[in-house]
Amino acid sequence: MSLLPSPFSFKDIRRWINEIRWTIDPFIASQLLIVVSVFLAFLIAPLIRIVYNAFIYQGTLSLAWFYSIFSDPFYISPRISLTNEFPYIAIEGIKGSLYKVITRQTDSGIETIILLTGYDMGVIPNTILVAISTTVLSTIIGFVFAFIFARYKFPGAEPLRILLLAPLLSTPFVGAIGLKKMLTSTGVINTLFYDILRILPFKIEPSGLMAVIIVQTLIFYPIVFLNAYTSIINIDPTMEEQAENMGASGFYLFRTVTLPLSLPGVEAGALLVFILSLEDLGTPIVFRGTNAEKVLTYQIFYRLFTPTGYVTGEATALAMILLTLTIVIFLVVRKYVSLRRYAMLTKGGIWRPRVRKLSLKVTILVYIAAFFTLFMALQPHIGVLLLAFAGEWGPTLLPGYFTLDNFLVLFSDPDVFRSIMNSLIYSSVATLLIILLGVSAAYIVSRIEIKGIEMLDALVTLPIAIPGIVIATGYFLIFLKTPLDPIVNGAYLLIISYTIRKFPFTVRAVFSGFEQVDKALEESAINLGASRARAFFTISLPLVFLNVLAGGMLSFIYSMSEVSTGIVIGDANPYTAPMTWKMYDILFKGLTGGLFVPAAMGVILMGLQFIMIVGANLLLRKRATALIGV
């Protein structure tokens, strides 16, 4: 990413400047200026402020925060000491266990509950371990299914494939609410398999970090699935045919040709899951109580919750640690998900993919695996749906009775209704801003070829890597007591944070549109006398209109369901808070409605998501496959 030609001489620099002056006309320059300044002010500046604050202790530059964090067993508990005996190293301080067995007396006799909890090694190792576990599990599930569905034909494959993508239709927060109800010892799964069907000899209840891993895996595996699927079907079949022609077959062929060629997609998907797991705040919130809150996002969140908006140095240091983790991963991801790379990945698919029929035995195995995964993956949706329509729900398989009351509350309770309206307004405004800025950014990255333009590509894809909680922390540091103060009115910062956080969705969709518009189409307009601005508005923009619409819809829906900045900035002023904050508020502040009203709100979100994603897919047809992949 060198900005200057190297080795650079005075002449080279002059050439470079001339090139820029020639390529960047006033129209492009103004687009560039606006996009860059928005990102500098609302993404880069808050991050710099966090880094700055993290190194300030009692008014002086110091590593004190980091020293206290890294020496506190709460953050890192394992202690390594040297011993005299083999293996000469001892590790102490790992608390908890993978599972606990609880036996208890009930009316029908003694029941055994296996409580999956997971080790507690302190906040920082926990965070990394959860992310690694989620990534590994999601990658295995995602890749296996991707390979099966990309390469084998069996009855029902297509509907099954689409159903397996269903978890994309939920956010960790909404999904976790549903899953929690399904997975507890009195939840649907244990009631069904232990109490009614008596298949299980004991009850299983995931809790704490284990629950976080399971929920995240069930919600994130489709990302690997989609990316891997796309890259497998895009492998030129002649590559494999050539290998077969030279005598390779079976696993050897898979290991030497198919796997390496599909790896970029799998890796991109896996790394994105890793980042999403690191920055997930909703799941730890829902499962807090055991040790689920001992992850970085929750700890920062916990420290931000003060009515004054004051952010402690410890919180900024934690935010910086989380940021460092995600940025490192992002730099690796850049190899795969820069806008340009993305365009390369999605072209193709023109050939007939290699598809084989499965034998009956294997088909049945695939069905069993798929249905089990599907059954598990649909738990959040089933859970949320049941809760939303439930009147009361004890330790029974199904709710006591069904009702629409929970949905009526959405309109009758003025606080709930206002939060929904707030979300709709903020998301709409954010989407408009995203489209305005995103189209410009996508256009510049796709059309302008000068050294240094890849910096813009990096800048506009960067939000993928920045945890919402970190952005929120930065906003509190910078914008308190300014006209944007979230305590006075959260609307501005919420809209801005949605705009920045959901920017990549639109910019990718629009970029892929511009990449499909031949440059010559614009050049011929310019050749006929149109200025670049005129060519842009009369030629390029109409041709990518569908991409803009589809990308905008995705950004809109992901803004609606944005959890971390929504809750944190929203909490500063309940009157201007969005619906995700209201869900949190009802769930954990002991207000009326319990699980049921948030579930109803979750159903509204899922419904909107369904409409928008199906809509975007219909608009873009095949091109959309990988769009949702973040």
Partner: protein, 356 residues
Amino acid sequence: MVRIKTVNIVKRFGNFVALRGVSLEIKDGEFFTILGPSGCGKTTFLRSIAGFERVDEGKIFFDDEDVTYLPPHKRNTGMVFQNYALWPHMTVYDNIAYGLKVRKVPKEEIDKRVKEVLKMVHLEGMEKRTPHQLSGGQQQRVALARALVINPRVLLLDEPLSNLDAKLRLEMRAELKRLQKQLGITTIYVTHDQEEAMSISDRLAVMDIGVVKQVGTPEDIYNRPSDAFVANFIGQGTFIKGNVLEIHDDKMLIELESGLGKVYAVPSDPTNAPKEGETVLVTIRPENFELGSRKDMNNFEIDVYHVSFLGSKKRVQAEANGIKFLVDVDPDAVVSAGSRVKVWVDPRYTLAIRIS
């Protein structure tokens, strides 16, 4: 219509130099072709004239106006792109009217001029169609109409025929030439197809790796290649390296390599004639060989390994001392693969090209 002049234009892309000082002068109303293999810089040259590439050095003039730094949309050139670049979201009418709307031409006049130009390219009544409802040849005509309707100072054509099938290509070639002569518009045409370049151009420039190798009429370039690359790229022939032994008034004696003996030859480019002791490439076009042997002519004995019948002639591929010969003979001549034949060629058609 204008005269176009480029002075030493240089264009770099990073470390790659696409144009290495190209100076050309294209006359008013001339059909001028830039011919060269892919990557030779011909498209970059055309795009520099249109203004899409900013040249790093040198000047470009339209008549006496320096347009080197004039942005593309103010140059008033009409360009036809290789893939036509018709806008899929506009009708044929809107495509053609675009340049006129940009120029704020009144509505009635736009109607009139679009109609005229459609008639000119034989597409009357197609106004309401969209580009994907047209055949390749029709799309080509629309692209041409769109470029012509604005009365450009120069017409720029970037391999416009390469996407058409062989038969249509011949038709469009004639059509293009007819229109160009009718309008008298200065035209720069870029192609890698030497036959196309030969048949359509008033003059052409042969380019290689960013350098103009030769400029001239098609006859000049075929019969008097000034450079080994041009001799090879244009037409076919037999190429033998040799050393100049003696210079006579109008011809020179050359000792051929590979033990093929001595021949008399004429300098291919009299302005750059080889001198005594220099290495030259002796070039003979296939149609200049005759069967048999003759005194005072250049005689060869060649081993035939392949004969192909091409209708109006037979093309003989042969070899002598490791040098490949291409010889055209009458279609009824008896020459067969595996035989050894004698051929001769007049020294006037034996061209000596200086190898630098």
